[in-house]
């Protein structure tokens, strides 16, 4: 795999280990999100939380890929 191809690999979560699944539920879905969240509010009510982690990384990486390809 090149650097820009699948840097991140998602494994099959085969386990039925409940303790592990509960842990994952906490760690993956909750906690402070520090980067790249946009909150769109209507009439002062928070409506949409869009996680931009992926998008920001993708745009940056996309630019890198394009730049890299340009020099090949």
């Amino acid at each position: 795999m090149s650097d820009f191809d699948q840097i991140l690999v998602s494994e099959e979560w085969e386990d039925t280990d409940l303790s592990m699944l509960e842990t994952l539920d906490h760690v993956l879905n909750r906690g402070i999100v520090i980067a790249g969240e946009i909150t769109i509010s209507v009439a002062n009510i928070d409506l949409i939380f869009i996680g931009l982690n992926v998008l920001v990384s993708s745009v940056e990486t996309a630019r890198e890929v394009i730049r890299k390809r340009g020099t090949e």
Binding site: S19, E22, F49, G51, V54, S58, A62
Partner: protein, 121 residues
């Protein structure tokens, strides 16, 4: 289990249930939503936007279905109108399925987390 000062809370959390398999099945779905956050090649920017758009369309489609059923229950639609409405909604559902598969998206991919309000769909 009493919590002693020695090593109480940094030990593994206790999990207690009489239905472990059921909960494991449900929680596995939760863990599976991870992929949306980690795919970082350029193509997935497109897919991310498609996902957003199709999620909103799907949301509206479901509202339309609910509304149609409500009208049907309300008794103010003729059998012909019910049939026409049903056919139109069927086509809409089929069209959305088509779009989903064009973008390689599964049913579970179409959702928006609205934070404290819960998920859109």
């Amino acid at each position: 289990m009493a919590f002693s000062p020695e090593n109480p809370l940094s030990a593994d959390p206790e999990i207690e249930t009489s239905h472990a398999d059921e909960f494991a099945e449900q929680l596995r779905c939760v863990a599976d939503t991870l992929p949306a956050r980690i795919n970082i090649d350029a193509q997935s920017v497109e897919q991310g936007l498609a996902k957003l758009v199709l999620t909103l369309i799907e949301f509206i489609r479901r509202l339309l279905e609910k509304q149609a059923v409500r009208r049907m229950e309300g008794g103010d639609l003729s059998p012909e109108q019910i049939e026409e409405l049903g056919l139109a909604l069927m086509k809409l559902e089929a069209k959305l399925q088509e779009l989903k598969s064009q973008f390689g998206l599964a049913d579970e991919d179409l959702n928006l987390d609205l934070g404290p309000i819960g998920r859109l769909i």
